[in-house]
């Protein structure tokens, strides 16, 4: 009996303290950690079309089309198929592909999740935070220094 009463007291305590743990999501944008891996952003200006990202991707999410002289023509990324492992960002030598913290994406059909390079370029930063800064300290372990300022816009 004591145990039951203790249990009831515990829940009552929670009911009366008025605290809630709910994230009121659309009204309050949640805090996202700087390392959070969201939708990709791509910069055609920086890309050297080395295809490393395409090769490392575990599930063929990235498709790169180049012409005969290895100039890039298309860069397609299926953000609905991606598993957000961040390997493409890790291997990219010039920070041309980057995972933003943006986790909000919707579409009516799966096809609409295939982003081409224009759409990838226009993916907004989440809360205008460039995650590269916060990730930078660790990047040295992976790819050596990036090449200065990055402009994705």
């Amino acid at each position: 009996m004591i145990g039951i009463l203790k249990g009831m007291a515990t829940t009552l305590k929670h009911a009366l303290d008025g605290e809630t743990f709910t994230v009121e999501y659309p009204d309050v944008a949640p805090e996202v950690s700087p390392r959070f891996r969201g939708v990709h952003k791509f910069s055609q200006e920086r890309c050297i079309w080395c295809r490393q990202c395409e090769n490392v991707c575990p599930n063929d999410t990235i498709q790169i089309v180049t012409d005969s002289s290895r100039n890039g023509e298309q860069y397609n990324l299926h953000i609905g198929q991606c598993i957000y492992c961040r390997l493409c960002e890790e291997v990219c030598p010039v920070d041309a592909i980057l995972l933003t913290q943006n986790f909000e994406f919707t579409a009516d059909t799966k096809d609409e999740f295939v982003y081409n390079k224009e759409q990838l370029k226009n993916v907004p930063w989440y809360k205008d935070i460039d995650p590269l800064n916060s990730r930078n300290p660790d990047r040295g372990a992976w790819i050596g220094e990036g090449e200065g300022e990055v402009d994705y816009q």
């Binding site: 039951i4 249990g7 009831m8 515990t10 829940t11 009552l12 929670h14 009911a15 605290e19 809630t20 743990f21 709910t22 009121e24």
Partner: protein
């Protein structure tokens, strides 16, 4: 005046038409209200008719302090002169009114209050996006549920399958016919009021078994069987415990049971504890509370539904309107359970201290019912469900013995002291 008369005549025709006709083919909203009116009307109307028409009937013998609601209504509308028809209309109106009050309370409790209460216990916010405090979720939910497809499982035993969801809410509504709700609101006050209420409430078991049996689903079947076993095991302690109250009062008439409780039990200066039976015999109160929880199938005794074990028990196959009816029925049953608690143990519609007497009795009554509802929801968030065999065991080996012990004890106390 003529307008009112016309309206009541129309209502009367409408009512009798529905009573004889097929009520189930009306649209959902209408069906709920109209049949609720009818069902209650059947009893209340009969009771009052009997009073008017047959002077030898015992009911006519003892007029209580408060006028029954139908008389009040007929007085208000000037229906006194219309004889038996006037009484019928008045009774119908009264029943309609009370049924609607109950249904409104259910509507608030089901989609909204339940969520809010559960959320409070679990540190969440719950519905808050539709309307102020999310209250419009009631409308949204009603539209959502009623607009769903009514799926009839293959092999369902048709008349039984259709009747079950109708029996459940209406048996509970029937019980309210004899409950004195304070401020003079009581449809009928027969001498056997208490027995009538229990009898009406336990018709629900029939509905559950019908639902379980007719659904052609094994989970439903298990749920139906469970509910029968559970009701058998807990009805007896429930009634026996209520009988201990009857020993005190010496009457089964609801209004008198309430009246007996209005005397002060202890007076210590400004503090007056009324002689509610919850204070006179707390043991019986606890027994009744537990048996009541089992009777209405709430945690920790919600095994006829037991979602994690047998999906949804007897209501597994029901959708759309029928589901709404089941849902309503469950909540009206909780309220009926709360009403019985209030009448038998909590002084009916009386305020806890006379100083608060300025608040109308009906408000107190509703507060008491809601307190019981709150308690069921609290248990739901904090008490584990018992197993079916344990439930039966507690019922037959524990509750029954305790209930009889309580009865004997009360009898001795009443016999020796009073």
């Amino acid at each position: 005046m003529s307008g009112v008369d016309l309206a009541s005549v129309l209502l009367q025709q409408n009512g009798s038409g529905n009573a004889t006709g097929n009520a189930t083919n009306a649209t959902a909203g209408n069906a709920t209200n109209a049949t609720a009116g009818n069902a209650t009307n059947a009893t209340a109307g009969n009771a009052t008719n009997a009073t008017a028409g047959n002077a030898t009937n015992a009911t006519a013998a003892g007029p209580t302090s408060e006028t029954p609601l139908p008389d009040l209504i007929s007085g208000l509308l000037g229906l006194d002169g219309f004889g038996i028809w006037g009484d019928a209309v008045a009774a119908l109106l009264g029943a309609f009114l009370i049924a609607n009050v109950m249904l409104t309370m259910t509507a608030v409790a089901g989609p909204w209050a339940k969520r809010k209460i559960t959320a409070a216990f679990t540190d969440r916010i719950a519905v808050n996006r539709i309307g102020p405090f999310g209250l419009l979720i009631i409308v949204a939910d009603a539209v959502r549920l009623l607009s769903k497809e009514l799926i009839v499982p293959e092999g369902a035993d048709r008349p039984a399958w259709d009747l079950a969801p109708i029996i459940l809410p209406f048996s509970a509504l029937l019980g309210f016919a004899v409950i004195p709700m304070g401020s003079g609101i009581q449809l009928a006050d027969p001498e056997t009021g208490l027995v009538f209420a229990f009898a009406a409430a336990s018709i629900a078991s029939l509905g559950l078994v019908m639902a379980g049996y007719a659904s052609n689903n094994k989970y439903s079947m298990l749920g139906g069987l469970r509910s029968i076993a559970q009701n058998l095991a807990y009805e007896i302690p429930l009634v026996v415990t209520a009988a201990s109250v009857v020993i005190f009062t010496g009457t089964l008439r609801m209004s008198e049971i309430v009246a007996v409780q209005s005397q002060p039990l202890i007076e210590a200066g400004a503090l007056t504890i009324p002689s509610w039976f919850a204070f006179v015999n707390p043991f019986a109160f606890v027994l009744f509370l537990v048996a009541n929880m089992a009777e209405i199938g709430r945690n920790p005794f919600d095994i006829p539904e037991a979602p994690t074990e047998i999906v949804a028990g007897y209501q597994t196959e029901y959708s759309s309107v029928y589901f709404v009816l089941f849902y309503l029925g469950e909540f009206i049953h909780i309220f009926l359970g709360g009403a019985l608690m209030a009448v038998l143990f909590l002084g009916g519609a009386a305020p806890p201290v006379p100083a608060l007497g300025f608040i109308p009795g009906f408000v107190w009554f509703v507060i008491k019912i809601w307190a019981f509802f709150l308690f069921t929801q609290w248990c739901r968030s904090a008490v584990p469900r018992v197993r079916i065999d344990q439930l039966i065991e507690i019922g037959w080996k524990g509750m029954l013995e305790l209930a009889f012990a309580n009865l004997v004890l009360t009898a001795i106390i009443v016999g020796v002291i009073i």
